[in-house]
Each structure stands twice: as C-alpha cells, then as structure tokens.
Symmetry: C2
Subunit: 143 residues, 2 copies
DNA sequence: TATATTCCTACCATTTCGGTATGGAGGTAG
DNA sequence: CTACCTCCATACCGAAATGGTAGGAATATA
C-alpha cells in the first residue's frame, strides 16, 4: 500500500474545506463529524497541513481552519507528499535512503524510477478542484 | 512504500535465473550468494514462486530451481502481484477489503482507481526479458 | 547410505499504522 | 477579566506488517 489513511484523510479534509469555503473558518469538530474521523487523530493530520501553510488555522471562539489558496492551486501530489513522508514505490528511492551499493549493477533500478515518475505525474496532474466537481464530470482524470 | 523487499528480491531471483538459464537447475545457495540475500529469507520468497508454477523446484543433489517459461512470458506485474499480496495503492482497493460505506459519496475513489490502473499498466508493460537486456538498452521502458 | 538440496512450520524483533489520552497555550465574546 | 472555545505538543498503546531466523522432514543423486 502506497497511501495510508493519513494521506487519504488529509485529502478528504481539503475537499471538505473546499465544499464549505464560503463559511469562513471551519472548526475541527465539524470536519471530524462530517468525515467520520476521530477529532484527535484528525487534529494531528491537520497540524501538518497548517505547518506547510496549506491551511490557515485561527484560534479562539469562532475559529477553525480554511484554505490559504484557491482549490486549483493544490495538486493532489503536493498534499500527499506532505502527509505521507514519501511516495516512493520502493525504499531505495526514498529521500534520505542510504545509496544502494548495488545501484550500478541493479537491473531493476531504472524500472523503479520509471514507476516513481508515472505515479508522481499522475498525482500531480490532478487538482484539488478536480475532486470537487459534480459527479458526472468525475471521469476526466481517470486514464 | 508500495513494493517491499519481498517483491524486489523475487524480481532479482527471476532475473538471476534468466541469466543462468543455460545451466539447468540452479541451487538456492548460488542465487543467495550472488544476490547477497540470506538463504533462509530467500527460501520463503522462492516458495511463493514455485507454488505459483513460475519456477520449477527439484530436490536432492543436483537440484535447484529453474524457470518454467521463457523470459518473455513473465510480466513484472505478474511477479509482483504474487509476492506482494496486493499492489493496490490504497487499502480500500485491496482484494477482500470490506466495501467502504462511503464509496458512493467518495470524491476520491475514482482517482485511486485511476492510480491503480496507471501502476498496473506500467508494471504489466515490462517483461522479465526487458530487465536482462544489455545496459545500453535499459531506457526503453522508462517513460 | 551419505550428502546435497528442496520443502514445511514455527518463532521473533523491530517498525509502521491507526489511533487515544492528557494537558496546555492562546484568542475572543460577554 | 474570565469563561469558553479553539489550536498545539507530547506521550503512550495495541495490532499488524516487515524482514528476517531456526529446526527439521522429505527427496533425489552418487
């Protein structure tokens, strides 16, 4: 499995916020209820998005979270690369992985690099706004 | 990470066997030494390939393993789908996963299905024989 | 029969996954 | 100024997956 619940939930939060953009700051509690995710777990995921300035958090009464950019400005890839620490399909391609001593003779390395490219290009080709479109238009990003 | 060491090692074993096809049955010990993988761990991986009739195992003195088909008959995808129990990028697409109650309203499901398709098509487009070609030809499957 | 080699079943340490619990710190309305 | 509501930080925890290890039984050859 490439994408854990963390990444999937992060995406659902972002979509939820797009769908309630007009309401200003949305409290965590509301999102958690709508998305049926535990408040505390969701909190830890949202924290990552706030630190990366993908969301803006406002404390105090009437506070909550909202997007910092327009939905077309976020790619799915950029969101997932934040929450999943790596989207690399194999450990030898992960950032900070110690260079494999067999890399030079490795028959499979170029293939893994190709797979990595395919995955990232697919995910970067989809915008957050694409995921919120009415159902009928939901096929344009399924290759 | 999508592909664990199991899948990667399986692929390396298959490649090793292609490169020593002419020598008949190749003992586990030889493969393990060449590939620098523990004999016992490799054994558990090879077992999977034998059970699926991708390899033929012969016991006793002079025994070992060999391919059951020509290298062009194996796709990388077919090998990986055996050793990794699933190549699904998200858990909700795994075989035997309990159907998600939110599937109908899920904004991200079609995207995950698209990703799954992209991954499988890439891996099924590469043959075992492609991985054994001389180095200079190693770019034809990197998109 | 001695030896090489595959098969089969357990077991295990470490890490990751998917959370929960507790306690603040900081803003805002009244 | 205080009560309330929100974000922020840290610690902990059970279950499953990962990446192996160990011991021995079955089988074929010489």
């Amino acid at each position: 499995m490439l994408i854990s619940t963390k990444g999937r939930y992060a995406l659902r939060v972002m979509i939820d916020l797009v769908e309630h953009q007009s309401e200003g700051y949305i409290p965590l509690k509301e999102i958690a209820e709508r998305q049926e995710i535990s408040e505390k777990y969701l909190e830890s995921i949202i924290k990552i998005l706030v630190r990366a300035k993908m969301l803006d958090g406002l404390r105090g009464k009437g506070g909550g979270y909202k997007l910092t950019k327009a939905p077309e400005q976020y790619t799915v890839g950029s969101i997932l690369r934040l929450t999943e620490e790596s989207l690399a399909p194999v450990s030898c391609l992960e950032e900070g992985a110690l260079p494999c001593t067999r890399a030079a003779e490795c028959r499979t390395l170029p293939m893994w690099q190709g797979l990595d490219k395919v995955i990232n290009e697919y995910l970067d080709g989809i915008l957050l706004s694409d995921l919120v479109l009415p159902d009928s238009a939901g096929d344009n990003y399924v290759i």
